[in-house]
Symmetry: C3
Subunit: 159 residues, 3 copies
């Protein structure tokens, strides 16, 4: 299992403080050895990094950057549930990548690679996941991308 | 674990009779302690409660009501698999909320709150779930919203 | 558990050679007794069988055929993970079916039946699954449909 804090530092990245739940749903749920993370939007320092459909309002490159932010936000939620004990993260299982798209845009997989490549850079084989990447007409708060994540963890406390 | 029938009665709600499977897929599948419920449409008494995209054809408020109906329909499917032994329902794990949206509509999370808030009202902490809410261009039978659900159950019979 | 190779032969179908992973994500991940298969596109012999939205660019019938190809491609990925030991396939749990749709198209479930019916033909009760079928504005490489799949397997080697 990789040293996530060291890899984040190497890439000059930091995990945000995970926002607390403010609604009837929660940012992440653990059941057994799986954590399901709610769809993450590309918020950074309290604002959306890019809004509107790709490519007319958001370039592919900006959307890839936004996808990376979604991953950082999702990892922060995982860290919150495992007390940042990253040795417990054994596998990223699945990403659901929803790219706000113009009709005819057919490069959702390239946008999603922003997320996938970052996970591999940070976590190596542990970060290699299954994924579905699709183009949607609109997203909450006009986000250009939303990503949900399922990860496997070890050493689960009984509760 | 909450008393779902009492909570439904308090809110003057009833679960529908779960429609039987009529196709090559089924309304819900149990594997281990998880039940995966198929995407539920907002059918009530055999008809769709609201059709077409939000907000041009369906208001946000109508879409929230439709989202609540999807949850009632999904809970009915869960109840069918657990013989309405609601003490076995230990956690709502995840919702996938697909809102039929006009381009530029950015309040899918508000529509989804109709579903999330109802689950919390009915089930308390047991009902707090992870979710992804996205905007889609179209849905089966022109539904304004479709919701899939994963729940955890206890006391599983061996099979 | 059904004899998948015999059923494929009966229908005059073959599973493709599963493409190797060429990116930071993988075609399928196994965790415990579940395999999560990445979103499959309707590639056949290296080309997309149908592109563009239903029904303006792709007919419902063509999209159903494409959905079947997605299933064959997904089963090939499952087979790769279980060394084509199909007796280990105990249940298809869930399909996520994303149909590239024109606004107003409301027959995503009919397209998805192409996938569901094939699974039932090939696998009988083992192939009966939960599913969500939705309409999306665009898909990678202009595919008309993308399908992700979760299956349960038995007899898992410890690793």
């Amino acid at each position: 299992m990789p040293d996530l804090p060291a890899q984040l530092a190497r890439l000059n990245l930091t995990l945000p403080t995970p926002p607390a739940a403010v609604a009837s749903y929660v940012p992440a749920v653990r059941v057994g050895d799986l954590i399901t993370v709610s769809g993450q939007l590309p918020m950074r320092d309290g604002k959306m990094v890019a809004t509107g459909p790709v490519p007319s309002a958001t370039s592919i490159e900006s959307a890839q950057d936004a996808a990376r932010q979604c991953i950082l936000n999702g990892l922060a939620q995982v860290g919150h549930l495992i007390d940042n004990d990253w040795l417990r993260l054994t596998r990223v299982v699945r990403l659901g990548v929803f790219v706000c798209s113009d009709a005819g845009f057919d490069q959702q997989h390239i946008v999603a690679n922003g997320a996938s490549d970052l996970l591999f850079e940070l976590l190596g084989e542990t970060g290699r996941h299954a994924r579905a990447a699709v183009g949607v007409i609109a997203l909450p708060l006009a986000a250009c991308v939303e990503i949900e994540m399922t990860v496997q963890i070890a050493g689960v406390a009984h509760n």
